[in-house]
Amino acid sequence: MNELATPPVPGIGLTARYPEIDTGPVDTAIYHEPAAYAKEMEAIFKRSWFMVGRTEQIARAGDFFTYTLPTFRQEILVCRDRDGHVNAFHNVCTHRGNVVEHRKEGHSQGLFMCRFHGWAFDLKGGLARIRDEEGFFGVDKSCNGLKRMPVGVWQGFIWVCPSDEPYQSLEDFLGEQGRDTAGYPWGACTQSYQFEVEVDCNWKLVNDSPAEVYHIPVLHPNSAAPTMMASGNIMGRLLGTEIKGHHRTNSHYSVMGEPKPVQKLAYFHAAAAQNVAVDDKGYELPKGINPTRSPWWTVDLIQFFPTIGFTLSAGMYTAHQVWPLGPNKSLYQQRVFVRPAKTAAERFGQENTMVEFRDVVMEDFSTLERIQRALDTGQIKQFHYHDHELALRHQHHVVTTILAEWDREQASAQG
């Protein structure tokens, strides 16, 4: 905890730093119209990269995991080959289209064998073996391997691109924000809890949920608010919002209030104060984290447009990921990453952290389907954003700009 006991309440004026972003009410059509969603699919999602796991999950050659990309319904297989490379393939057998590897994760001796007719593929995707090959009519093994999916690694996170030709490289996609947040000890939090839930709302509402703290004193009166408001920040203001291209970072201001009794046990007796400010963290934060270098910084929300954000403190982080499933349906995944526990007492601290994050997000999510109903029924046609809801306004601005550009591209392609 810091000794500077009375931090100043952050002021108004975040939005004014970005004159290209309007300050008026915004049209809510993109939050529910099927036509807007269809355009987003082409102009945004097919051009993006999606985080699917961590390299630690496939530490050794032969380790693999499979996944069905929720938005695209594509089956993927991610593995490490004997050269140490991370490969991603369409998990679709070139014989007749069954999934090749049906298990969720595991270790392969070197071949993935389809459980339909037994075709086998190696760790580089090559078609190694056709069962009863003499009965085929000259199938060329050299060009019937698994189809590769574009894959990249950033800070131990594995990302794939659902399009054969990525619109931009992973590095360009992550851009300045990716560079400015590299160097955080992302890999030190080796333990994680993850849950997922389908929510009947537009993907942008899921992103909006943690992206403003204007709501904290009202929506989280007993959970998150006491920390944030302890120092007189009663309106729930941010330290700042940094916009980097399509991405953005919110910096959260808080000091530690009086913990609740079980929190006290976790923080003081179980080495679990990972989610509160620390002065002595033993490493230097990269410049994109706590960008204002405030001594009252506790947490950043680092959002990579369009579908992933990290709530990050000096000692741990939580990934919030949204997979769009339709104009008013999304899959939300929360993965809480914490440092490894040695003792049974520290294990209790991890549980306290996971339960707190989960329940606070359940408070947040109470609003999502209610807002979506108001959108779908036409009961709300405009949103008004506070100065400290800039991250939401920015997302709206980015989407609107991309869709307008898409319309121009389509018009000139037809013209």
Partner: protein, 115 residues
């Protein structure tokens, strides 16, 4: 027969109902309990918390005697129910999204060694 370390015999009566195998089971137990039952468990556990953690600090994950494992699972249950008592006065998140709709897809082992 006791299932907890001898110093914690007073908590023995909670073992049958409040020791569960993993986080999803603990979440289900909280959601399926009355707030009165949750409070009875919480109020008995809380004053023993520091002593329990002092014991748990002396044991490495991956090498827990059976009775310490049971004691740890009681504490993990305390973590699960704490918001019900301290934040909501209700097993559910007050006015919240129905937590029963969430599905855990990745767990941290309750007792295994971590690296």
């Amino acid at each position: 027969m006791t299932t907890l370390p001898p110093d914690f015999a007073d908590l023995e009566r909670f073992v049958p109902d409040w020791v569960h195998a993993d986080a999803p089971a603990r979440m289900a137990k909280r959601q399926g309990s009355t707030i009165a039952d949750i409070k009875a468990f919480y109020q008995a556990m809380l004053p023993r918390g520091e002593a329990v953690l002092a014991c748990l600090r002396g044991h490495q994950l991956g090498d827990l005697p059976a009775e310490v494992e049971t004691l740890l699972r009681l504490m993990l249950m305390l973590a699960e129910v704490a918001p019900a008592v301290e934040w909501y006065d209700d097993p559910a998140v007050y006015d919240g999204f129905p937590v029963g709709r969430i599905c855990y897809t990745r767990l941290i082992s309750d007792t295994g060694a971590q690296a």
